[in-house]
């Protein structure tokens, strides 16, 4: 319990510092500090005790993590850009969770994550512009449409294995982007504007003010995306800590053996693939409204790879790792303005380094515990 809480507190302070500083030398210094600190902690076995305390008192620490996020948001209450970054992290984390169900648990490769994210965003763009569907309802609709379009791929996804399965989604990712570019109905390469979110007449795109403190309009989006993340997180948690999670693992590790013990492989692949796409589309719809703009270039194959790399960086199958990895992938390139030109290069090199020297990711997935805090 204590190590986890301490780690969270430190992380919060660090995140605030990193988001606050602008001067490049300081940013670089902070990043270097983080790397050294993590490596050191790992050496001294501190990381292990942290992850242990997370495994034992996850619910309490989860609540603390939410609190920490709100502290960060409060600190930057009037800073549009930082809040936009934070919101982006939260939404990407949801998408990563969805992808994690597919790749991390069920072993169903999906290299079109960004496409399903985009389907959600475009759904939001179209529905907000042409229908009166309440925006809170538009979000799940985005998820449903993504799942629906995903189901077109079910047959090939179910029939193929391994690399053959990879090509199905890769082909879809390219198909999807080209389709958006050449068809005018959805704005072509120019993309579409997305109306901001409006909940019960309260437009999230208006700045607010409490007394004489004025608040960035992104705070509203922060609350919504935070709620979405918590929901997705709990769902995934329960999924893993149930017979379903076990089924998915068994299927990923050995389809044949799982089949010999009664597992209906097709059924669980469908469930995992559909559920994953739903979460991704759900997140995409919200992201569309936050960004206020959708264009094919946001949803390229490269972006799909970015999502997959988040899984890998965080530690496949570990939601906490995903959260950390998402933060790194989204925020670090933004902060390192001096290396703007080189950001993709450095980022790619980082992923390669992780794959070579820490393939299990930053926070490796722990053994399954079916009931939190349960002991034999």
């Amino acid at each position: 319990m204590l190590p986890g809480a301490a780690a969270l507190a430190l992380a919060t302070v660090y995140v605030i510092a990193l988001l606050a500083v602008e001067k490049q030398p300081l940013v670089i210094g902070l990043l270097a500090l983080a790397i050294v600190a993590v490596l050191g902690a790992d050496r001294m076995g501190l990381l292990a005790s942290v992850s242990r305390s997370f495994a034992e008192r996850e619910d309490t620490l989860g609540a603390l993590a939410i609190l920490a996020a709100f502290v960060v948001a409060a600190f930057f209450h009037d800073n549009h850009f930082v809040l936009l970054l934070v919101v982006t992290v939260l939404i990407y984390a949801v998408a990563a969770l969805g992808l994690n169900i597919q790749i991390g648990y069920a072993g169903v490769l999906n290299f079109a994550g960004a496409s399903f994210f985009g389907i959600g965003a475009y759904t939001a763009a179209v529905l907000n512009a042409h229908t009166a569907v309440p925006h809170l309802l538009v979000l799940p609709t985005g998820g449903l449409i993504a799942a629906l379009i995903g189901s077109l791929l079910l047959l090939p996804v179910l029939r193929t294995r391994g690399h053959y399965a990879a090509v199905v989604t890769i082909a879809f990712a390219l198909l999807f982007k080209t389709f958006l570019e050449v068809n005018d109905v959805l704005g072509g390469p120019q993309g579409l504007h997305v109306q901001g979110m409006n909940i019960f007449g309260w437009s999230l795109n208006d700045n607010m003010a409490v007394g004489d403190i004025d608040l960035s309009f992104y705070l509203g989006y922060f609350v919504v995306s935070m709620a979405m993340l918590v929901g997705a997180f709990v769902l995934v948690r329960r999924l893993v800590r149930s017979w379903i999670g076990l089924n998915l693992d068994a299927m990923r590790l050995d389809e044949t053996a799982a089949g010999c013990f009664g597992l209906d492989v097709a059924r669980w692949k469908i469930i995992a693939f559909t559920l994953g796409n739903f979460l991704i589309g759900f997140a995409g719809a919200l992201f569309g409204m936050v960004g206020g703009f959708v264009a094919p270039n946001n949803y390229t194959f490269a972006d799909s790879l970015l999502l997959v790399s988040i899984l890998l960086l965080g530690g496949i199958g570990n939601p906490w790792g995903l959260a950390v990895a998402t933060f790194i992938v989204v925020v670090v390139p933004e902060k390192l303005q001096t290396i703007q030109e080189y950001r993709f290069l450095l980022y790619a090199l980082l992923v390669i380094a992780v794959l070579l020297f820490r393939p299990e990711g930053l926070l490796p997935r722990p053994m399954r515990r079916y009931v939190a805090g349960w002991r034999p």
């Binding site: 001067k23 850009f81 936009l84 050449v182 390469p189 120019q190 206020g292 264009a295 270039n297 030109e341």
Partner: protein
């Protein structure tokens, strides 16, 4: 004996000084460099990476030149700090960059966008956050005319004038049949629209229109169809990277039509990309070439003096003029977005290196002059000075 006793304090002193220097070194990284004047942040956005980065960097350098000259000027009230962001000529990236810049309250005003596709996507953001901007290269009319945004201004001209001049020239040369290839961004679509309108008035005939995506590699299919249609001119509405590919593949397929481009292909990169094949390409650009600009000589000299890598490219002068206008305004009304916007609403006959700047009620500068170019011996030469005009050389099928 004595040596040893004396040596100790020396060593102490040494270590102390070393420590001090290290410390000051560290501090100097952290500490804010002190200035007499307040520092004001202003912004620039353009394609700093990707296929159009040459023009983007030229624009960035030109804007930076305006800032440097101002900072060097002791009479200036403020010290200016230029924040440059990349829009990669992509709408989505442009929106991100615009949000980042507009959301930063310390940035008072900005000079933004070479690509129409990027600009048209971003203007809503500037409006939402109330950041005054001056467009330095994008030519789509909608950027200033679709809405009535007080924040949005433009120093360069629009594609309408371009296509008027274009169609005049090609019909004067006696061309009757045209095939149109346009990229499917608003830039390409817009040009296609205005070109067709202008051409209709002059009795030219469009035998085929082909939309292509902005990152397409292979055009043999489209060009083979065009070959069958056998037009005298292929009008291309798009940017340099595509133009290079299409022109090269025309040659492969033995398509002998004249290649007639827009402002989007007027760049050194086009010439370098094609070598001799570029010969005889037509292109049009609003405003006069740097050499003939009122302040052209001054601009080129100052630019050269700064030893930037790469030339200012086609729109550098506009980026400079736009930035200079912004700086003048801030000097006049102070670093306040609202005031800057109000003052910019009344810009009339302001002298600049690109000539007098006058904003109409949409913030559009009325640039009458459009320059006609033809590629001759690996250079964009003004049509009237070219051997094609004098009749010494002839374009395919030129009357």
């Amino acid at each position: 004996m004595r040596r040893s006793t004396t040596s100790i304090p020396i060593r102490k002193m040494l270590s102390a000084t070393v420590g001090a220097t290290v410390l000051t070194g560290l501090l100097s990284i952290v500490a804010e460099p002190a200035f007499a004047k307040d520092t004001v942040k202003i912004g620039f956005i353009g394609p700093l990476t990707g296929g159009n980065s040459a023009i983007g960097l030229g624009g960035r350098n030109s804007a930076d030149l305006a800032v440097r000259l101002r900072n060097a000027d002791t009479a200036a009230k403020y010290n200016y700090d230029l924040v440059g962001l990349d829009d990669e000529c992509k709408p989505n990236v442009a929106v991100q960059a615009a949000t980042k810049m507009a959301a930063d309250r310390d940035i008072i005003a900005a000079v933004t966008h070479y690509c129409s596709a990027a600009a048209i996507a971003a203007i809503d953001i500037y409006h939402k956050f109330g950041l005054p901007i001056v467009v330095w290269g994008a030519v789509l009319p909608d950027i200033t005319y679709r809405n009535q945004y007080a924040e949005v201004h433009r120093v360069n001209g629009m594609m309408i004038n371009q296509n008027e001049t274009n169609t005049e020239l090609v019909s004067k040369l006696g061309y009757k049949t045209f095939a149109v290839i346009h990229d499917t961004t608003d830039y390409g679509k817009g040009h296609n629209q205005y070109f067709s309108q202008a051409l209709a008035g002059k009795g030219g005939k469009i035998v085929g229109t082909f939309g292509v995506t902005a990152d397409q590699q292979d055009f043999t299919a489209e060009l083979t169809q065009i070959k069958a249609l056998n037009p005298e001119v292929i009008y291309f509405a798009g940017l340099t990277p595509l133009a290079v590919r299409i022109r090269a593949q025309m040659d492969k397929l033995g398509v002998r039509a004249v290649f007639d481009g827009t402002s989007g292909i007027v760049s050194d990169a086009y010439i370098q990309g094609l070598g001799p094949l570029a010969e005889g390409t037509l292109a049009f650009l609003e405003g006069a070439p740097n050499a003939k600009l009122p302040g052209g000589k001054f601009f080129m000299e100052k630019y050269a003096a700064q030893k930037y890598e790469g030339p200012p490219e086609t729109y550098g002068a506009f980026a400079y003029a736009g930035m200079d206008l912004v700086l003048n305004t801030i000097e006049k009304v102070g670093p306040d977005r609202r005031k800057v916007i109000d003052d910019m609403a009344h810009v009339k006959d302001r002298d600049s290196i690109v000539g007098k700047i006058t904003f109409d009620d949409h913030g559009q500068n009325t640039v009458a002059v459009v320059t006609r170019y033809v590629v001759q011996d690996g250079k964009f030469v003004e049509w009237d000075d070219s051997e094609y005009a004098s009749g010494k050389r002839k374009l395919p099928g030129q009357k």
